[in-house]
Symmetry: C2
Subunit: 345 residues, 2 copies
């Protein structure tokens, strides 16, 4: 257990004692005046405030934290910031945090157990008041470590419904249904699904929305339509998935997420397959880039920022001992230009 650090001292600023000396009162009085305590004379309060301003006093929240035993800090653990989905989660979460006087410690795990351990340890040492686990992969080792910290924690986009920690998720089954129903409406009957096995639980949900909707439409599901490419990233998944889909003779593809869909789009471009004339494609997430690609991608929108906001509200709720329940937000279909009637060649 290493605790040592470089020992250089850095800051050296005005404290309430300095103000007290100048004002000719005790530091207690200054402390009270600053917090607008009604017991202090308006006179001295005024004087203290003016002095504080003139002397450039800035409260030391480290000292406040030590005393109050709370830091007004939330740790957010993400696998990577450089992910369009995570990015919006954070934007939403940070908005609420800032409003409520909280700060966010941002840490990335990069799927590296050592880093994960390190981050959890850091969160403990720094006494964060709460933790948001963003899109944790199932089987994260750090979860166990985090259980140990008795700190409010919420799961964002984990799909794991866990009795010990509340979670914010989207209706993945319903969202997938939206996508497939849309394709059915355009006349498609042979619809493929390209999944992502590293997001196991979410993948299962979206897949089940897909199968359910096909069944309800009375369509005999061909197992070769369901593809879970053996790949490490979404880019490869799209590329591999497209090949297999084509082999399965599908007229439309519903993809686990936009990144896969966009990769499919890209592969189509390279193979000279025109979308949506020859193949229709629907994604999931509605990341910013979905509307930029050619053709603009029809997709299922997740309210990403709203999810981030909700997760933050939930941790803050837990911190204030409020009752907090799992949240499941709705998706919405965004029609753009990657879907057309099936090619009748």
């Amino acid at each position: 257990m290493c605790i040592g650090y470089s020992t250089t001292k850095l800051q050296s600023v005005i404290t309430i004692k300095d103000i007290a000396k100048v004002a000719g009162v005790s530091h207690t009085t200054v402390s009270r005046a600053l917090r607008a305590d009604s017991r202090i004379t308006p006179d001295t309060t005024e004087r203290v405030l003016r002095l504080a301003d003139e002397m450039g006093y800035v409260p030391n929240s480290i000292a406040q934290s030590l005393n109050a035993k709370r830091t007004y800090t939330i740790g957010m653990l993400v696998t990577s910031v450089a992910d369009p989905v995570v990015m919006d989660f954070m934007e939403g979460a940070e908005g609420i945090a800032q409003e409520r006087g909280y700060c966010i410690f941002l840490s990335t795990s990069r799927n590296d157990p050592a880093r994960e351990f390190n981050v959890v340890d850091t969160f403990q040492r720094r006494r964060v008041d709460g933790v948001i686990l963003v899109a944790p992969r199932t089987g994260d080792k750090c979860r166990l470590a985090l259980e140990r910290i008795q700190v409010p924690m919420v799961l964002l986009d984990s799909e794991e419904v866990n009795d010990t920690h509340p979670a914010v998720n989207v209706d993945n089954v319903g969202g997938a249904s939206l996508a497939v129903a849309h394709l059915l409406q355009w006349g498609h009957r042979r619809i493929g699904y390209i999944g992502a096995t590293d997001r196991r639980l979410t993948n299962v949900k979206r897949l089940s929305g897909y199968t359910k909707t096909l069944e309800q439409a009375g369509i005999q599901l061909d197992p070769t339509w369901i593809i879970n490419p053996e790949a490490d990233d979404d880019l490869q998944r799209g590329r591999l998935g497209l090949g297999q889909c084509l082999a399965a003779g599908v007229t439309a593809i519903f993809c686990y997420n936009d990144q896969i869909a966009i990769s499919v789009l890209n592969s189509c471009y390279h193979k000279g397959i025109s979308v949506p004339q020859q193949l229709s494609i629907v994604g999931f997430d509605d990341i910013r880039l979905a509307s930029y690609v050619n053709p603009p991608l029809t997709t299922v929108r997740q309210p990403l920022q709203e999810m981030g906001r909700t997760a933050m509200k939930m941790v803050l709720g837990l911190i204030d001992k409020a009752q907090v329940k799992n949240e499941m937000l709705d998706c919405e279909l965004v029609e753009r230009a990657s879907v057309a009637p099936p090619c009748t060649v």
Copy 2:
């Protein structure tokens, strides 16, 4: 000046005093044993360490900070996290921070002066050891407030070369030259530029790289080729810019950044203009999405993560009183499929 907060206490964990009591030594000894101070008997050191482990002791870095007057925390102020460029800056910066035992406070200003003020105030109260200002727009009010804090600060992607604060930038002039030279090489002679006036300084640099390169090629520059659309965001800039470029009879466009380029690409799609057959396009940045669009975008790559890493190394350097100089990193041309010989219609 409001300082009041909710007053609920949260944590309550093992301290060195608790360990001391159990070990039958003073808390000083425990403190030393934990830091592997050579003055303590290997015997007691061992015993203390074992106890610390058993009792689940986690050092309180708040208390450490109060004492040491440093927090091992860096404040990063960004206008928005939901920006593909910023995202990579952060990924890079966070990597270094984590390696060196620092944490990042992430705060967004969203171009709102009130928020900016709030963030700066927060950074001061929380006694961050340093600040990274990410892609600050010129004229940020907060700069003045930040000057007041006597805390190491570095500017990332600001293009402002400022004597008081070191900056990390990319060679914008050289990068633009790369792009234009590439278009010249393919035979283009009428090349447009779509700029972004809200990034004033960077815009000027890229524009100057553009003009310089054209001049060196002995091309008479037509002022109508240079377009600075009156718009608030890059999407609109692309749309408006394309119209004006077309009117100017240009065969290729160099765009201030990828977002504009992609918007141009998108507008072309809608107008039935095929890229690169009828119009060549080059962007700047090489954001992830640049390789996903159709056609994949030829662009000038900024080493975004490297810039983030460099900025972080620089603040940490400043904190440790090292000599730190401005850094200018090189760009690199990434050839993809949005450039072809000029259309000879």
